[in-house]
Symmetry: C2
Subunit: 597 residues, 2 copies
């Protein structure tokens, strides 16, 4: 059976030593977030993830969700009880403003906790995760009355949330959307249409489900400019705030998916359901993207979560499984064979994943902290710079960490040989669960286009310029001998990324396909540079801590230095191939007629 241990020490290293969370102390929510409080929250969250959620992961996968003839859905055994503990722990609302019943802590803390929940049980963690996304949309776009109506119960988790975008004929291209909203005399709307792939669309864990639904108000313009966002609760909310009459919406079926079986992915039928406009009419996409952008970071984190738990299990197995002898001489003469961790090719897999995970976690936390600055700082320049950073990094984190996170689950599974292919060890579930993260909240090809087509050029390239400047300054300022193994390859990779960026500037305007043809490679090239930068910073911190006397963390700091070095030697060299591909352009790629495929 698979196991999971939350990476508490690693998170503390990042928050306290690398990113110096104490420097953010002047922002709301941070002042109260002392290292001790952080540690206490991490311990509690870890316990919940390891002891309550993880044991339900495999059984939840095997049992899946069941839809009944009346449209109701039962979640796997144990999910209801675990969700009750989730509510009791107050985990849904730790970063929601206190006025709506939350704890007002940094959103970074939610991200950290959610990684643990998702590692332990991704299908389960999606229920509160979707709720948090819906809360974000309401916080930004709802009227005060709407906030008071919905937020308190969503913050506790008593009510959950969903996002309804996709229809059978339209996913990426929301301009094709058909769901209809007809205005009523009382200010409400009648919503009619079919939505598919609705995660947590119907289930038995909460008293009410607040659906956020994209639809087109009768007579609205065609395309994306005529789309509005609506609040459509499963049960109408009574004047006293309780759930009342059933709304005209129903789960039509649940999808048979490759993974995340514990989450109910629904076809939702809205049949003249009562809804209320959220934000402005015809600006629904904008409102939805508030939710979507936070969700994309969370999905990137899911990629890490599966990579992490798969890695941990592979490492355990590699230490225990006896098979073959080391080619450099017998290592366990008292045993019938050596543990497979002595074999270089097994090490290659473990080091590849480990060096990815630790940098990915750093990149996510760094960006989550910037997200807190964006929303909480009183300094307008800092807010602007943080917003630039988050906008730039969101597609990178979503696209790269889910792509590579999935690859890592596959590599981790390989460590088990045939035992990885059967259900027992849980490895094949990590692969199946991780796979969705590359698809939802905008397939990774779309992330790459968002990065290259939108984020690079925005505001005259302000965000990317700032990033280049920060990294190159770090490289310059850390040229001492000990840092060379880290900053030399980082500098080289940065130069390649800059070349690629320049190539787009020169070749995409006259032929836009040149941008599309290189977008995925560019996103991955960018991701590698960002991760390498994380490693350079972590190496710097580790060296400083070792110099100061690492207080019992010597071995962990030494391991950081080795792992970062591995990343530079073995993972980063991929950048050259990305650059080469980008600069070949679109001609060959686009040459064949459609019927030649």
């Amino acid at each position: 059976m698979p196991t999971y241990k939350a990476p508490i020490e690693d998170v503390k290293f990042l928050l306290n030593d690398v990113f110096h969370m104490e420097r953010y102390g002047n922002m709301p929510g941070f002042a109260d977030t002392s290292p001790d409080l952080v540690a206490a929250i991490l311990e509690e969250a870890a316990k919940f993830a390891e002891e309550v959620l993880q044991p339900l992961n495999r059984s939840g996968d095997q049992e899946g969700c069941t839809r009944h003839p009346d449209g109701s859905v039962t979640t796997p055994q144990g999910f209801r009880q675990a969700y009750r503990q989730m509510i009791e722990g107050g985990w849904v609302g730790i970063s929601v403003p206190t006025e709506y019943g939350g704890q007002g802590l940094p959103a970074t803390m939610t991200m950290i906790v959610n990684e643990m929940l998702a590692s332990a049980n991704m299908a389960f963690a999606m229920y509160p995760g979707l709720t948090q996304g819906a809360i974000a949309a309401l916080l930004h776009h709802a009227t005060e009355e709407q906030k008071k109506t919905y937020l308190p119960k969503m913050t506790t988790g008593e009510w959950t949330g969903t996002m309804n975008l996709t229809e059978p004929h339209c996913g990426t291209d929301l301009g094709l959307l058909r769901a209809k909203a007809v205005p009523q005399a009382d200010g409400s709307y009648r919503i009619t249409g079919t939505k598919i792939f609705i995660s947590a669309g119907e289930h038995d864990m909460s008293e009410n489900i607040i659906h956020l639904v994209l639809a087109r108000i009768e007579g609205a313009p065609e395309g994306v400019k005529g789309i509005s966002l609506f609040i459509v609760p499963k049960f109408m909310v009574e004047a006293d705030g309780s759930a009342g009459a059933r709304n005209s919406l129903l789960c039509g079926s649940i999808e048979h998916k490759m993974g995340i079986h514990g989450n109910s992915t629904c076809v939702m039928n809205y049949d003249g359901a009562t809804g209320w406009l959220l934000g402005e009419a015809n600006k629904g996409l904008h409102a939805m993207f508030t939710m979507m952008n936070e969700a994309r970071l969370a999905v990137g984190m899911q990629g890490l979560s599966q990579s992490e738990v798969a890695y941990q299990n592979a490492a355990n197995y590699a230490r225990e499984r006896l098979q073959g002898r080391s080619i450099s001489g017998v290592k366990a003469p008292d045993k019938p064979a050596d543990p497979i961790i002595v074999h270089p090719d097994i090490r290659r897999v473990l080091m590849s994943i480990k060096s990815f995970n630790e940098a990915a976690r750093a990149l996510i936390l760094w960006t989550a902290l910037k997200g807190d600055v964006q929303h909480r700082s009183e300094d307008g320049n800092a807010r602007q710079a943080a917003e630039d950073h988050v906008g730039l990094m969101t597609p990178v984190i979503k696209g790269v960490i889910t792509d590579k996170g999935f690859d890592n689950t596959v590599m981790a599974q390989q460590v088990f040989g045939g035992h990885g292919y059967i259900g027992e060890h849980g490895m094949e579930q990590f692969v199946r669960d991780a796979r969705i993260a590359m698809i939802y909240e905008g397939a990774n090809g779309i992330q790459a286009l968002d990065l290259v087509g939108r984020k690079l050029g925005r505001d005259g390239g302000r965000a990317i310029t700032a990033f280049f400047k920060e990294v190159s300054e770090f490289v310059k300022q850390n040229s001492e001998e000990a840092m060379k193994p880290y900053v030399a390859p980082l500098g080289e990779a940065l130069a390649q990324l800059q070349q690629a960026t320049m190539w787009f500037m020169q070749n995409a305007p006259k032929k836009p396909d040149n941008a599309g043809a290189g977008s995925s490679d560019y996103m991955h090239l960018f991701g590698l540079v960002a991760l390498a930068y994380m490693w350079a910073q972590m190496a710097k911190t580790a060296q400083e801590k070792l110099k100061q006397g690492a207080n019992g963390a010597e071995e962990r700091m030494k391991a950081k230095l080795v792992t970062g070095r591995f990343f530079m030697e073995r993972v980063l060299p991929e950048t050259a191939a990305h650059l080469k591909r980008i600069t070949t352009g679109a001609d060959t790629m686009m040459a064949l007629p459609a019927e030649a495929f």
Copy 2:
């Protein structure tokens, strides 16, 4: 629902135009294999695959196999009937010598037919596939009496075969094997032990199942030098050749796997079962490897098979799915959106897979033809050279084509967005089915070690030297302008492979971990060079055909040239990163203590 169309034209192009099958006409089996006969066989096999097997693929996955309390196993609905058609078509034995009831055709033909069967239904195709492996072992190692007893009914497919190696505590490291064989007065043995992951171990499609089982004769030496191979039939064979009394062996359970649900993967319990020695005592591994090596090529082909069928479905979907508009201007103004095949990032995926599949098929067929030369040629030198080639290419084909074939199914699935994650379109099944090919018949890490640790140095490097010579001569002899886009990158990649080989020669003897640390990268670097060489040859052929007037194949030949170019520009650049990784050696990789993971 997924569809499949056998790549008949592509196979004919390879056999007739690229590899000139007619040149092999002097070998047994080839003389009768005229282009017309080949075409007829391909058409028939295609029909069987497309019309009978493919429609059972998804239902077979959903239903899976069922073990009953008495140990019997029922295959999914339709499998029995389809298998009867397989027998009637004579597909199992097309390459088996005529004296045992086969058609004596080249083994290459079996490989070609099997690709089609596996694309249509991999789980089904494994039943006859395992039988063919067992037939190979019997042909090489059985006594004449044993051959007469088993081969005729296995050749028709009335009886099927299995291979039993793995035990719960030993997979790769067969030296740890515990299954026991006790000699009996009549020359038979009593076999006792538990074998796991036995594909097609028990089912309802054939009258008898001939298990080939590795076990240790009482008193035999420890380790791999004390392992023997036994023939252990499910039903004892009577004097008249029919199946008689039940042997003492039973399917203890069937595994719950990630994929290939239509194949029954069994735990097999041998409880004093009667078996007969196959080949020499204590040389079982050698005999098993006859089977294993052919099986490894077949598994490489499975990687291609899933990549091919996944590609076809993705291409069809990309032509039909309307979503978004081309960034270079609207392409389908009469439709609400353009088909997604207009988007460069979708093209990138399709071209990547297409350019891989066509070269992989070439590499497999080229090597299959060499296999025929190895076994059928009267020229001793030719046989030797062919054996060298097959030995060298087997780990490359198995390791690279299954790794990349799996990646390709994942990429093809991505084209479908959310629709790729649900069962309906069949894409997620291709991913789950393809995954096993990276694991069984020697996990791909083992293939890489076989290549680097055994195949490179064997006979003073004769095989690799011959390969280098052949490729570099091709590069030299085809330096004309039209071939430059193909031979220039090929030459560069070859130089990198030679550098990597040299690096091992210089750095592995003094530190064997340096070989292990670079083995997987080396295998993939080798694979890229081999595939690029296939493209260079195919481009040459296509250019010649276009010059001669391609007789209606103009468009296909032009597409070959574009696709080959794409491979050179976008797939091959990976070689540099492999070389860089290899030459960093093992130090960083091996530096951490096991407990640091």
